[in-house]
Symmetry: D2
Subunit: 347 residues, 4 copies
């Protein structure tokens, strides 16, 4: 249930509504969208309370929650949201490319990759310091040491950093080093973590779960926004299907579907979908042509010895070649991909 | 088992090999690829015979079948195949657009659509006369009457016709009217039908089954080619997954995967994947950007009253607008989409 | 749209309704279910005609088609159907076990398996003479020679024969030898074939497609019944999912779902679902416990040398042991599995 | 890489091996299985170090990790593990039924359900106090208040309590009230949470993720065991497929597959798989027949008003009737389901 208050509802009336709900044992969640105030009624008594609330002063209407993600939906927010990280804007005219290694391994690797992707036109640096791995015996990332390296290469290249956070108790730590916090596919329904990144100020990159529906992805984004953080970028990265020639099946149709349902930006990770670097540029071109607002891609200076996901990481030359292709495709759909400038390669 | 004969193997030696196999109860399948002769050994005795054949005159080698689709594989045929229908060539520089209604309904409809798509740059006319439908109570197509209409509109527009054949006993009939025979997704593993279209001369458009792997699609194509018809075009049209916001999930990755494994052309049907006309141009652009050799798309002069698949059919204006977009995307990947000319709209 | 006529509607009134529909360009499909006559209205004009038909003499009501498989639905036919093959009844108290090799290979094999399964309590003999195979180079079955062997072993053991038919033009041939015609998973939506087996008198075993929904399975059964043959048995045999430790994923829930929606019997094929003989008895027991009316299982006298599906075929001893287990489980759910008798092993 | 030490390896030698690895920059993970010590070598240097370690005193062998879940695999631990919760043993002769509401709602509800399921033969009480929900606006559980109620009903009925924990920081809290900690499907790859429940003493019920492979489930269990807790029970609860007539598709084949690969007990949750109470007893019977060691099932005293999952919750009478069925099926496979006794209903 959503209680929509009148646009000019007085503070006194607002407080009255909230007090009424709380005194009757209801749980609630208040959100301000533009000048409209919505109160989400949750739990037990919602239906009963809703009926009584209908006539209270200041209440415009009671809505069954449809769609169930009111804050990320385009219904009440038709203009696209631009998410800003420093001078980078995701969701505008530019198709933003974020590139870097799957996992941060050491200083030499990260510097090599960071400078190369900056020189080729990447606008953000990606790299995992905390790696969720299926096996307890696989490399789990360098942890804070990796974050330090990411911050150092940001200083050298000027590229803002996006990196994954895997547990609520790490959010503060990661936020001290990173410019954008990534929620990985396996944690898309780690609701405690979603609420935690929703309660801090960094923009969030939310990856679709490997077997999550589009509706579930939008609901996960709603968790973040409902907790107070409207700066969310969604990322399609391939879903699990019966087909095994690619690591996952890139659901390219999710790009226009999501863009139709939400005002949040939508980017694509072709690396995890492909699982094979030969395929990555094809998927990246397709994503740009389909309307994606950005590309998140794995690049490694020496993929053969990468600690994780080497097979799907582009080489430095491969990345540069792909960027040339993406620039042309972006132009053909009236978007653009950055041309590298001196400021991006100041080291 | 594949018995590969020496390039200069004499007819006498070839006959000796065949006679030996047959006299020992083996079944075989001979194919000539370029100047190489391959004999597929099938059934019971293959392994035993293979060993004896190894030393026979004219035999170059015995191969375990890997990949199991030797004739459609790029291994022995690295150059891409161009399939020709009249002056249309699929698999070359041009991205060929085939357009028309899902089902042929009547003369007025087909003429309206046919002229419009020709005027917008389509190179072939599609339309179903025999419709496989999940329910026995759904419209099953006009049958031969539909074929007559297709042929008539071909005369008016100059566009060659591709249409579906659903049963072995209809192959002759459909072949008298159509320029290219389509095998629909539900019949991708109707092996008798595959063999039948493999034994006639018209090029074949083979659609991927809704839940068929890429390997199974290539094996289905091998059935057609092994029966004698090398003119096969493959078509990705979406697969069945857990996601339901699109009718099917377009497996965009299948385009580069297939292009890497086979020399046959690969096209994409965005209409069945999308199930919603708003999404079709996005998927079509993605397909061209990913390297598809063509697009097969549903267009209707009045989608609201279409007898089947109205929701996913483009309007005439929508098709024309999409063609403008595809021309730009094609150019960005060094391909081209036809610009309409007088000869295509001679009516 | 379904036009339901009054139970005592005169022939004259029936003819009047049909004539009216045809004279207005409607297409129709008449079916008699018990003493009720239903006319399926299809195509373009259905909605418009339906309104005019509402007041005609003899018309009881006009129904939107819900469910879309009126003849196989339990809605109009709540009592379960028993399908009879000789003295075997599927859909009654007995859980009927059909067993035999995947493919008929030769006389010795079939006799060995046939006698052994009869002696262990199987009630029907299965075995493929026409095998649909993914690869054109795989063993495709013995054809009519296989049918002759099946009929011979039926004479020896008294077990009726069920075997697959893969093309419309083979229906007569297979029907001359077999007691029940099987439609394989790959042909579940070969609608021409469904209509053809619907137009002959042998009972039909209809296997669910590897990626077909339960709704599509019921619609496929409706094709057979609508063509005149009410003797249809449905078979769950595993669906294609992301999980690969089993060949397919047995959808055990489909058994109670189907039993709730249709009056037709439902059996389970644990062999194709498992792909591994170790797993087969577990799945068979589960199927009986879940309410299946029968089990279709592959058994081979020497699985290691089977021409197809050897890995999933039970040995003769394994089959006998499984039958003992199934008898106990069947008893626990108030059903029974046959105990072998002299009449079943008359050779 | 797994370094296996000799059974009688001295502490000094163990320390030497560990020191060697650490001094060369390796990361490691030590686990004691019975009297065998295994050291998992992870990260970068594993291969290089492994070679040098081969000759060190105390080292028995170096194994490539195959299977990648050495501690939960049957390879080194062929006898089944029994997990004990009070006097309940999971993994032995008894098929253990755990029953209760999806969510703990209030005292009256939980007492009503608790006494009823105890009286019908349930051996453990389930009920969610922390509920992971797709929507931020759905009821998220009573939290600690729910735990208090669960503990109170345990006192009344004698049934040990299993309940879900959703975040690492809640593990201590939940462990103070519950006898067994459940990891829900959405958290199966929340590796931090897995490690946390692995580092405490309560047994763990690990549910398979909705789209997780059997291999991934075993790796998740390995996380728990590798962190020090060998008391893990696996739970199949349905996977996400294209079929939508059931909420999920119960992968019944996973029961024998898992039992073949791991020594850990395997139970089945028919409620989440079915999504419809009519189907639950069918799936539960199938699970017992297939070899499951237990059943986890949702029961509600008034399902129509349940705050979550009402449609799939059994009524009290329905549960009792199902228990009678399960007793018979269990007997047919030489297992047993508890008959209620005075001690279980001491209130």
């Amino acid at each position: 249930m959503i209680v929509v208050l009148e646009p000019d509802c007085s503070l006194k009336n607002k407080a009255g509504v909230v007090r009424f709900i709380e005194s009757h044992g209801g749980r609630l969640l208040v959100s301000e969208i533009g000048n409209e105030t919505q109160i989400g009624l949750i739990g037990n008594e919602a239906q009963a309370l809703a009926e009584e609330l209908e006539g209270m002063p200041g209440v415009a209407q009671i809505q069954a929650v449809a769609p169930p993600y009111p804050q990320v939906s385009r219904d009440h927010h038709p203009e696209p949201t631009e998410v800003r990280i420093g001078d980078v804007r995701i969701g505008g005219h530019e198709v933003v490319v974020m590139a870097g290694p799957c996992a941060v391994e050491n200083e030499a690797q990260l510097e090599s990759v960071g400078h190369a992707v900056a020189a080729a036109g990447a606008r953000m640096l990606r790299g995992g310091a905390f790696k969720p791995r299926s096996s307890p015996y696989s490399f789990q990332g360098l942890g804070e040491e990796g974050l330090v390296l990411l911050a150092a290469v940001r200083e050298q290249t000027g590229l803002p950093v996006v990196t994954e956070v895997v547990a609520p108790e790490d959010v503060d730590l990661v936020g001290r080093y990173a410019d954008m916090l990534q929620i990985g596919a396996r944690n898309m329904q780690n609701f405690r973590l979603l609420s935690e990144v929703g309660a801090q100020a960094r923009p969030v990159l939310l990856k679709r779960g490997i077997s999550s529906s589009i509706e579930e992805l939008l609901l996960a984004a709603e968790y973040v926004v409902a907790a107070g953080n409207p700066q969310v970028v969604l990322c399609e990265r391939g879903i699990r299907t019966f087909e095994t020639t690619t690591r996952n099946t890139l659901d390219i149709g999710s790009v226009p579907v999501l863009k139709g349902r939400t005002h949040l930006p939508v980017i694509v990770d072709p690396s995890h979908a492909a699982g094979d670097r030969e395929l990555v540029p094809h998927l990246a071109r397709a994503a740009v042509a389909a309307g994606a607002d950005g590309i998140l891609v794995e690049v490694h200076n020496d993929p053969e010895v990468a600690l994780s996901d080497g097979a799907q990481s582009l080489t430095l030359d491969g990345f540069s070649a792909m960027m040339d292709e993406l620039r042309r495709v972006a132009t053909s759909v009236d978007r653009h991909v950055a041309v590298p400038s001196a400021s991006q390669t100041k080291a």
